[in-house]
């Protein structure tokens, strides 16, 4: 809210440099976001929190200053002369009447009437002040409604009484499809949820939001009916939102106003009107008020000891009383504890905690003594450490960590990759920021591919990205998204590599993560990779899936990103699942210090025989002293013949207790050659 320093002085005297003033207000909760000069005056842009509608007027701000500076708030002059009857001899209740049809939404409605007006410009001081805070002066009546609004925070509306059919004010729900022309020139079609101020011929104003053109004050206006009312916050907000029509009034009503203020503001208006123009103000005030609305809030007791211990502050005796009194709280009690009745404008205060906050706020939350907490050891979190190590591993493997948006569906064919991960429908947000970002991702692939494309089109020839983040799946019988922590990585290069080189690099990352997490050692479940059939969004024949005893938890393959040349490969693992399988306990195991014997063997097999088949046969052969086996090379070509390939692997033998002889290894190899020949028709190639 814009606040004029000159205007504040109407309510409280102070002698502060502008920087001091802005600091003082900032540190009591009115953050000063800017200072502008306006002639001799300064205007502060203050940020008002949603719980303090009482700060939405100069007097409310001045009240804080009066409390902080311990200077009394100046009284408000509300006096004005009245006449008992109009020129034509009618009393107030004979020229106007109020009917409130919906007391639930309109808690209080007051109206005063002035006649004999000549609509003119406002005097300089009013124009200057309004202009300083960014309002355009119009005429005295309209300007005064705005002036009082900005002074006391209470919205007012002046109707041309001669244009209110029958002088009758009816507060009711709008009819469906009812048309309304607001004074800002906008046209609206109302709904039965909207509260309106109507006369006998129809809607004259949208309650709490804006007046209508039909009854607005104009150059020829002679009589006005001044509305000062209290409307329930939520309906004002809903109407304002739905109609996309907001105003300084709706902004305030939405935040719940002081129920007492409407009467005071109405008198203040008439006081200023009488002072600045020639007119007759009818004696009395028409009013409808809901039962109980004006009841005093319950008094609140405060334990000074509790305040001290919550704030960590030594509060001198009497300080609580002096702060609360200055803020308008009252008590019958004789000491700090109250109980304290909050002033009607403090709609935010109903509990002891609220009062303690006031004490802290005024004394300064910043000046509390240092209090240190006890030393406490944080239990180690093995799972988090492992996730961290997966990150470090990928960084070591020269992948850059990306951060992509959790929303978004993969384009075209890549949707089938998302579907591979989860066949359920995407979870959808109701109000996406961008049309293509309405769905919660089921796989990390959409964001990573978008980022890859960005990089490649910026001329980065080799892109390696990874991300660890949640994906959102749908599972039968679960009425909320199942969140899974995934790790995914992408390798995209402008120049294609030969011989499955890229596949093996990307696949190697998956193998490396499994190895890092020691999932394969954990017992009954064994990981296995198998080719995935086509139609999964990958380049045909390029994809392998990882499963753990039947559960599919990983995917590696080549994706065909049109418009990008070269090749792009992707891998993704259900990291959460792997962490569940990961071994916690690492134990030393003894190793042999005897020499090793290595044999490289080269077999020719039919094309259908996979490394997986070969390696599991080697394992099944249970060769004595076999320490490890390692794939070396695969070759297809004329020498091996059509439909066949040669596979080379290396076996390492070692005994724990002695040096092995070549003869015994020869026997093992012989056994293996026999087995592979029998089971896989593999021929040893020399």
């Amino acid at each position: 809210m814009k606040v004029s320093v000159d205007w504040l002085r109407d309510h409280v005297d102070f002698n502060l440099k502008i920087e001091e003033l802005s600091h003082l207000l900032t540190m009591c909760g009115l953050n000063c976001e800017g200072i502008e000069e306006h002639g001799d005056d300064h205007v502060l842009e203050l940020e008002v929190t949603s719980n303090r509608p009482d700060h939405l007027g100069h007097r409310g701000v001045a009240r804080e200053l009066s409390c902080l500076l311990k200077v009394p708030l100046k009284p408000l002059d509300l006096d004005f002369d009245t006449v008992e009857a109009t020129a034509s001899g009618l009393a107030l209740d004979e020229v106007a009447s109020i009917v409130v049809d919906d007391e639930e939404r309109c808690g209080r409605y007051t109206a005063r009437v002035a006649e004999g007006l000549k609509i003119s410009e406002s005097p300089d001081w009013i124009r200057r002040r309004l202009e300083a805070i960014g309002l355009r002066p119009i005429n005295l009546v309209v300007d005064l409604t705005n002036y009082v609004l900005m002074d006391l925070g209470q919205p007012l509306h002046a109707f041309d009484l001669d244009r209110l059919e029958g002088g009758e004010v009816i507060v009711r729900r709008a009819q469906r499809m009812e048309k309304f022309s607001a004074i800002d020139g906008s046209e609206h079609e109302l709904d039965s949820e909207d509260l309106v101020i109507a006369d006998q011929s129809g809607t004259a104003a949208l309650a709490g939001i804006m007046g209508g053109t039909r009854t607005e004050v104009h150059e020829g206006t002679q009589r006005i009916l001044l509305e000062s009312a209290w409307f329930e916050p939520v309906p004002v907000r809903s109407s304002s939102r739905r109609l996309i029509l907001a105003s300084d009034s709706s902004y305030r009503f939405e935040r719940r106003l002081d129920v007492e203020a409407c009467e005071i503001a109405s008198r203040r208006f008439m006081h200023l009107l009488a002072r600045e123009s020639d007119c007759s103000i009818l004696s009395g005030c028409l009013e409808v008020v809901r039962d109980g609305l004006l009841d005093h809030a319950e008094a609140i007791a405060i334990r000074p000891q509790r305040a001290s211990s919550l704030l960590g502050d030594v509060i001198p005796e009497g300080e609580i009383s002096s702060i609360l009194s200055a803020l308008g709280f009252t008590t019958q009690g004789t000491d700090d504890s109250g109980p304290w009745t909050p002033p009607t404008w403090r709609v935010d205060c109903s509990r002891e905690a609220d009062l303690i906050e006031e004490i802290g706020r005024i004394r300064g939350l910043d000046q509390m003594d240092d209090r240190r907490m006890e030393v406490r050891a944080v239990p180690e979190n093995a799972r988090a450490d492992k996730i961290e190590r997966v990150h470090e591993y990928l960084v070591g493997a020269s992948y850059h960590e990306a951060m992509t948006i959790s929303f978004g569906v993969a384009e075209g064919d890549f949707q089938s990759i998302e579907n591979w991960w989860n066949l359920g429908e995407h979870w959808v947000v109701r109000n996406p920021i961008r049309a293509n970002e309405g769905s919660l991702r089921k796989s990390l692939i959409p964001g990573l591919l978008t980022s890859v494309r960005g990089n490649r089109t910026h001329g980065v020839d080799e892109v390696r990205l990874f991300e660890v983040a949640n994906v959102f799946h749908r599972r039968d019988g679960v009425d909320r998204p199942v969140e899974k922590n995934h790790v995914a990585w992408v390798l995209s290069r402008a120049q294609e590599e030969k011989n499955l080189q890229s596949y093996r690099e990307v696949r190697g990352v998956a193998d490396g993560i499994l190895d890092l997490l020691r999932v394969a050692e954990s017992g009954p479940l064994t990981p296995s990779w198998s080719p995935v059939g086509d139609g999964a969004g990958f380049v045909p024949g390029s994809t392998a899936a990882l499963s753990f005893s039947g559960e599919q938890i990983g995917l590696v393959g080549r994706v065909d990103v049109d418009d990008l040349g070269g090749e792009t490969w992707y891998g993704e693992l259900d990291l959460g699942y792997l962490l569940d399988q990961s071994i916690e306990d690492v134990r030393f195991s003894e190793f042999s210090r005897h020499p090793v014997i290595t044999r490289d063997l080269n077999f020719v097999v039919s094309d259908e025989v996979l490394w997986r088949d070969l390696s599991s046969e080697i394992d099944a052969a249970s060769l004595e002293h076999l320490e490890s086996r390692r794939f070396i090379d695969m070759y297809r070509g004329k020498q091996v013949g059509q439909g066949r390939k040669s596979m080379t692997f290396s076996l390492t033998f070692r005994a724990a207790d002695r040096t092995l002889t070549h003869e015994e290894i020869d026997q093992s190899v012989e056994k293996l050659v026999g087995r592979l020949g029998e089971k896989l028709q593999a021929e040893l190639r020399s």
Partner: protein, 335 residues
């Protein structure tokens, strides 16, 4: 030498080769032996191409035996080589002055951590040193954990559908990591000292300092005797560590959040002006009561810091949009 593929021929090759190695006087002579025996057209390769005289059963054994010969000869060659000095070694000794050792190294490629994750990890480490444990929670929340449990009333503007990403009437993308506070308090009793770093979502228009997906690091302490002074000291210590500056300036400016009372904004003096880093306050008694913690016995404080804010300040990054673009030229700056 005869090459009819018999086992005795293998023995002969082995014997001759070992003798030749023994006789070789320099590295060049050794290389000759290597080519003659183990080379592509060497005697060992030749004999393996001519196995006509062997039965199918004998062939694998012959191959294995040939392997042994190959290994023995190779071992002898290696040994002789180290005895005589390899050509490379001789070269290096003779001409060290001509090698350009100022050539750049072949640096292994390395990747990088995302700056936001780096900073979040660093913030977590500092809080760990202050005794805070990390707690996690779901990114999709229900209204109770996102609002009700945090004392945000039914008609509060923060619940407005246009201020949130709702999936159903009850489920939404969490708009703050305070949700994790509620989950932790539901499941454990004080004393509690936790942080929950993570993603949050609000439908803000994207500009240089706003995004609809960002990260918060939320902290919560509940214990007997916790005061606003503890809150202030904790934040002060944290920022001193973060900035490695004992004299950094921090201020707690009164503000409003439904779940804390009193509430304050955390402002950091940064490059000549105050910068908002997050919010904090004493846990509202209603929040404690909602999870059956007695607010008379226990008090607590909570804070939430914007991770992107801290990251932008730490690295002098001018625009929040860099974080989700994932341009490698941006990312690798933080490796």
């Amino acid at each position: 030498m005869s090459q009819d593929g018999s086992f005795s021929d293998l023995d002969a090759i082995e014997k001759e080769a070992l003798a030749a190695v023994e006789a070789a006087g320099d590295a060049e002579a050794l290389d000759q032996v290597r080519i003659q025996v183990l080379g592509k057209k060497g005697s060992l390769k030749q004999i393996l191409r001519n196995l006509g005289g062997l039965t199918p059963e004998e062939r694998p054994l012959f191959g294995a035996r040939a392997n042994v010969v190959k290994e023995k000869v190779q071992a002898a060659l290696d040994e002789a080589k180290s005895r005589l000095g390899s050509p490379a070694k001789q070269g290096a000794a003779n001409s060290s002055a001509t090698e350009d050792l100022t050539l750049p190294g072949l640096m292994p490629e390395r990747g990088s951590r995302h700056p936001v994750r780096l900073v979040m990890a660093r913030m977590s480490r500092i809080f760990a040193s202050l005794g805070f444990e990390v707690a996690d929670g779901p990114e999709v929340e229900d209204e109770w954990h996102n609002f009700t449990g945090l004392n945000i009333p039914a008609d509060h503007i923060a619940r407005d559908p246009s201020e949130n990403f709702f999936l159903t009437d009850d489920l939404l993308m969490r708009s703050q990591t305070s949700t994790v506070q509620v989950r932790v308090m539901e499941n454990s009793q004080p004393p509690l000292r936790i942080i929950s770093p993570g993603k949050v979502f609000r439908p803000d228009e994207v500009d240089a300092t706003h995004h609809y997906m960002f990260h918060q690091l939320e902290g919560l302490v509940v214990d007997e005797g916790m005061t606003f002074g503890h809150l202030k000291t904790t934040l002060l210590t944290f920022f001193q560590q973060l900035l490695q500056d004992e004299n950094m300036k921090l201020r707690l400016r009164p503000s409003f959040f439904p779940f804390t009372e009193p509430s304050a904004e955390v402002d950091l003096w940064w490059r000549g002006k105050w910068m908002e880093m997050g919010g904090c306050g004493m846990v509202d008694p209603n929040v404690l009561e909602a999870v059956n913690i007695d607010p008379e016995k226990y008090t607590g404080f909570a804070f939430g810091l914007g991770v992107e804010r801290v990251t932008m300040a730490s690295y002098n990054i001018p625009d929040i949009r860099y974080f989700t673009e994932n341009d490698v030229r941006f990312l690798r700056q933080f490796s």
